[in-house]
């Protein structure tokens, strides 16, 4: 046991020596967790860590001149989502650009705008409503490094592995997040799901809470008939990316349920920018 601890400590010191100059921006909404992780990354592994609570704060930091070598970002920011939900409940029918929500994808997109060579790590717990974000980050944004917040050791060493992998442009995912990523040779899901204008509009209307064809028509300006024709096609798209869905199910119910579960993805600001 002593030998193991000693080896681990030696490894920590080696990593710390190599990380003396590495500047890291940690974007996490839980300040309690972010603070504890930052202290460990600085104290034990030698990184220089700046903190931001969400994509907006991360952007502000970069506007002020921060040049991180690595961005470690959470995916969904609770306070941003809560604010967005309240805003939507107050004016659900308004469909403007500001009615999209910023996630960790926005952090990555912004960081790359400022510093194209920045390394990126997605650091999240992994949840049902984050799986499309994870796939989108992997398939559309080329993110290679994924790390869950449930470290196997209870410490930040998995995160350090993920950071090192990102810095060396290597793929890394720990076993908790790995299941969310796409199997090898899988086609990109986004072009199929939201590549077509009409389907994208319908997905977003459903994600905004429209729960019948008439409500979707009111939000999209497509006719009831067009929506009626598109919904079965959208269900086929879903079956293509999720073969577990039953054939000949109830397309509207399944499609609306999927949109409701993944509303943060369909109304994501970065997804909107890439698929306007």
């Amino acid at each position: 046991m002593r030998a193991t601890v000693s080896a681990a400590k030696k490894c920590e010191l080696t990593v710390a020596a190599a990380n003396q100059a590495t500047h890291l921006l940690l974007v996490e909404d839980s300040t309690q967790l972010a603070g504890a992780v930052a202290r460990e990354l600085e104290g034990d592994f030698g990184y220089r860590v700046d903190l931001a609570r969400d994509a907006s704060e991360a952007r502000q930091a970069m506007v002020m001149g921060a040049r991180p070598a690595v961005i470690v970002t959470d995916l969904l920011f609770e306070h941003v989502n809560r604010h967005f939900t309240i805003q939507q409940q107050q004016s659900p029918a308004v469909s403007t650009a500001r009615n999209f929500v910023e996630s960790g994808l926005a952090t990555i997109a912004t960081a790359r705008e400022f510093h194209p060579q920045v390394a990126t790590v997605i650091w999240t717990s992994g949840e049902d409503n984050r799986r499309l974000h994870l796939l989108f980050a992997e398939q559309e944004m080329g993110v290679l490094s994924f790390c869950s917040k449930s470290s196997a050791t209870g410490r930040s060493d998995d995160l350090v592995k993920a950071i090192q992998a990102a810095l060396h442009a290597r793929a890394y995912s720990d076993p908790v997040l790995c299941p969310y990523l796409s199997p090898p040779k899988t086609a990109r899901f986004a072009p199929r799901l939201i590549g077509e204008d009409a389907k994208r509009c319908i997905w977003r209307a459903l994600a905004r809470g429209a729960n019948c064809r008439q409500a979707v028509a009111a939000l999209t300006n497509y006719s009831d008939r067009t929506i009626g024709n598109k919904i079965p096609e959208m269900y086929e798209d879903l079956q293509a990316i999720d073969p577990g869905l039953p054939p000949g199910g109830k397309p509207f119910i399944e499609v609306a349920r999927f949109a409701a579960t993944n509303w943060q993805f369909f109304l994501d600001e970065t997804v909107h920018r890439m698929y306007p």
Binding site: L33, E78, G154, D174, C178, P179, Y180, P183, L245, P246
Partner: protein, 387 residues
């Protein structure tokens, strides 16, 4: 954010529940109509006794319906039983009425008897597919057809057609439509109540799931980091709390109709990751399974990983792939291995899991029995039943 409220299954179950409660009450209503007809409508004395006899038959049927359920609750071809009953009793009342009275006033003997049938039909739950789209049209055609049937009875029992019959039939039609509309409204109301309850429950689940994620898990991770290795007892308790939270999250996950396989495997891995080195975890992307399969897969992965840990394994690898419609999932460890005789022991959890897999046309088997270098258990499971 609003979640989907409409669920056909929920609607069907709600309507079936209401019908089960109302069907015997419809018989009481029909018996009351017959008592009123026997008392005030123009029937010969013998016919009045026959009508009262019909009342007794309804009272007897009441007990049958309450005990074993009525034809509406059974669904399918049983629907023709109450329809036939309405047709037969209405025709019998027309034939037994004092000659020259049936249809000669707007108050037709036994008028309103069939209303119970139309109220229940308005909420009949076993309609689906293309038929559901034409449902209201078909039902209204039925209502109109029944009014025409009454008009035809007036013509037949009186041997002539008089203009007043049209007025009498129109009054009957109005009563039937009233019953049908009230039924539609009542069923719509109960469906709305059920949907609101389901939505409230779903939202509460979702909020609690998010709470466990955003607050409890993040706080536990922060506490683990703050404590460090210096307080092993406190750390162990924090780990226990983390495990309890993860187990609860799996329960919440399995309360949904469809379960994300990635989330299911991820949560199972999260429970053992650390004490057990998970050297490989599968990439499953967007694949989902229904609740029954989700429960089985969750138990298989969870039990196998826990067993590996309990029997001294230090490393485990999970693989998962899809061949056609069949999911193949295996868990391999470096423990002491075991004999496949456990699959013959009903007291063993693996036997129960194998039975559950077989009941879904799948299987659970040990691919390398008695291998001292570790065990590899494979689950094969069709994503959908053959039907």
């Amino acid at each position: 954010m609003a979640q989907l409220m409409v669920q056909e299954d929920l609607d069907r179950l709600t309507a079936a529940g209401v019908i089960a409660e109302l069907e015997w009450a419809a018989l009481v209503f029909q018996a009351a109509v017959l008592v009123a007809a026997a008392a005030v409508d123009p029937f010969p004395v013998a016919a009045r006794w026959v009508v009262l006899g019909l009342v007794l038959v309804h009272v007897a049927l009441l007990q049958v319906y309450r005990r074993w359920g009525g034809p509406f609750a059974r669904g399918g071809a049983w629907l023709f039983v109450p329809l036939g009953q309405s047709v037969a009793v209405t025709a019998l009342l027309a034939v037994m009425a004092t000659p020259g009275t049936f249809g000669w006033s707007i108050s037709t003997p036994g008028c309103g008897y069939s209303n119970g049938f139309w109220v229940l039909l308005s909420g009949y739950p076993w309609v689906s597919g293309r038929l559901a789209r034409w449902r209201v049209t078909i039902e209204l055609a039925g209502v109109l057809g029944f009014a025409m049937f009454i008009l035809m009875l007036m013509w037949l029992v009186n041997d002539s057609f008089e203009p007043i019959f049209l007025r009498a039939a129109a009054v009957n039609l109005a009563w039937i439509l009233t019953g049908y509309t009230m039924g539609k409204s009542g069923f719509a109301l109960t469906r709305r109540v059920a949907r609101t309850q389901a939505e409230t429950q779903r939202r509460s689940y979702s909020e609690f799931f998010d709470f466990l994620h955003s607050h409890v898990k993040a706080s536990l991770a922060a506490i683990r980091l703050e404590i460090g290795a210096g307080s092993p007892d406190v750390l162990a308790r924090v780990e226990d709390l983390g495990t309890t939270v993860s187990e609860y999250r799996v329960q919440l996950l399995l309360a949904q109709d469809r379960v994300s396989l990635a989330t299911l495997i991820s949560e199972s891995v999260r429970l053992v990751n650390g004490p057990l080195d998970i050297s490989a975890a599968p990439r499953v992307g967007s694949l989902s399974v229904d609740r029954a399969r989700g429960v089985l897969i969750g138990r298989v992965v969870g039990d196998l990983l826990k067993n590996s840990l309990e029997h001294g394994a230090t490393q485990a690898a999970i693989t998962c792939g899809l061949t056609g419609n069949t999911l193949g999932l295996s868990v391999q460890d470096n423990g002491p291995g075991f004999s496949d005789s456990v699959f013959n022991d009903p007291a063993h959890s693996l036997w129960r899991l194998q039975q559950a897999a077989r009941s879904m046309n799948g299987n659970l088997e040990l691919t390398n029995p008695d291998d001292p270098s570790g065990a590899c258990v494979q689950l094969s499971l069709p994503l959908r039943s053959a039907s």
